[in-house]
Symmetry: C2
Subunit: 312 residues, 2 copies
């Protein structure tokens, strides 16, 4: 059995390679849900949906999230009512949110709805939300006048275009949340646990913040392998750099190794970062060097193969 | 000032004629909301929307409800999840429902949201929901084996295609509901109150069932004029016949006159029903004969003019 901790686009691209090199049904993906937000009453789970659409082959190939051939009739119509529709939910995507929202309203858990959605898409891997409880990433930024503003994740990332400087990141509700059923069991029994190349602060961070998960990973440290989302001192995509530095995490693969060292025995880093191998090994983390820039599915598959072999 | 009690398509077509013969801003429309339903968490108000779209000039011209040039991407997408999407909400229409649902969730009343929606469309007439409280029409039908089934209005009308025989109609919540702010005042101060050519049982009936409204109309009986939705013993559109007969209302303009006689001093009937004039007058209701089949906007306007003159 294989477990992956995952955020959004980077993780989804990695997983699309992984399912080319392992039987799909051995895979359980534990997905960040602290980016989840409610828009116009609809429950949106960006990371769950990005991974679902990617594995289902219906993701927008260039942007890496949302649906291919998407239309925006509904959201454009909201403009008439003066709504600031900065979160551009597509019409195809809205079907998912309507279904999720109505099932949650009926009393289903997020894990149950996620199972129903992935089954509807015919996915073999099991997708688990990190928790059925609400956890919400909040980002605090300092404005030019020195005042602090606390924003919900999507407000900061999409509406405010990741502006900074960031002074703090919090996972509201995390301490009261429980891992979704099966999460701890999957980690405890997995042959290998992969930490996908996702934002360490706001994608992997919330998963680790739920009581019990980091401890479970520590127990399996020699079977846990991460892939650095930082290549040559910069994230491939997304705002990881703006979030890592203020939290004291160096924006390099060494910074990632240090942040994960207590539960992650092996880290896969990019060829461009080969010179950091010694620094990572000095943290007690085994470093494996390969090409990690997932320019296409073939590279993703090779990266997945290398990641599995790193702890074989 | 002019007040109209209204249901869906028939009322909307009449009102589109009325605004051609009176200044739009003198008109207040009190709209049935007992057909309202929640689909996938979205608050749908069919009669309010039909009238809004008709007066805004964006209604589907043939079917008389829904938006012209509508698409169904979202609802079709729900089929993937095994949802029985028998209520075909269009993508354009969904913008309205998303806005209404989110505003109601924020604590706005239905009257407030309705005002916002009609203002967004630039409508001059004031649309008032009959009540801000939930009132839900329920239809009881007798099955072939003699058993009774109680259905929500849209379940019966759309999903079950108005099948019968109907044994009872109830307006759940009506007795506990209050007229929306302004409803009683509008009736009390109107020069003329028009009962639109709508289903007497399930469109006008719920409005009359809210405590205070029928009494307010009785006070203005000589200023109240109705238009019979029944022509030559049959409804122009919709299931009025299936509902009137079981409730003891004869499916003729005489039956309508008798049902309205206590609060409606004048009834406009179709030329095909001229022979019923005496029977209606014997009920103490003044009968006015004209062409009431609204085949186009010109006919609707002429009918509106005749209706106004009937109580001038």
């Amino acid at each position: 059995m294989l477990v992956a901790l995952a955020g959004g686009v980077g993780a989804a691209r990695f997983l699309s390679g992984l399912v080319r090199v392992v039987p799909e049904d051995v895979l359980t993906v534990i997905v960040n849900t602290a980016d989840d937000e409610t828009f116009w009453g609809l429950k949106v789970s960006p990371d769950l949906d990005t991974i679902t659409y990617t594995l289902a082959g219906c993701v927008h190939p260039e942007q890496g999230w949302g649906r291919v051939d998407e239309t925006f009739t509904v959201i454009d119509g909201l403009a008439r009512f003066g709504c600031d529709a900065w979160f551009r939910l597509g019409d195809h995507d809205l079907s998912t949110h309507l279904f999720r929202t109505s099932r949650l309203a009926e009393g289903a858990t997020l894990a149950e709805v996620t199972e129903e959605i992935t089954r509807a898409w015919g996915l073999q891997p099991k997708l688990l939300p990190m928790s059925n409880d609400r956890v919400a990433t909040r980002v605090t930024i300092r404005d030019d006048d020195g005042s602090l503003t606390n924003l919900a994740m999507q407000d900061w990332f999409v509406k405010e275009r990741s502006r900074g400087p960031v002074t703090a990141v919090d996972f509201d509700g995390a301490m009261e949340a429980s891992p979704a059923p099966g999460v701890l069991e999957a980690i405890a029994t997995a042959d290998t646990v992969i930490v996908c190349p996702s934002n360490p602060v706001i994608s992997i961070g919330p998963i680790l913040a739920i009581p019990g998960i980091r401890e479970a990973l520590k127990e399996r440290r020699d079977r846990v392998v991460g892939i650095s989302p930082i290549i040559a001192g910069a994230p491939v995509k997304g705002p990881a750099d703006k979030l890592m530095a203020p939290l004291g995490i160096e924006v390099t693969c060494v910074g990632v190794a240090r942040a994960y060292a207590d539960f992650c025995g092996t880290l896969v880093i990019d060829s461009l970062d080969a010179r950091h191998t010694t620094a990572i090994e000095e943290l007690g983390v085994h470093a494996v060097v390969t090409n990690t820039l997932m320019t296409d599915a073939r590279v993703s598959a090779a990266l997945a193969q290398c990641t599995l072999e790193a702890v074989a």
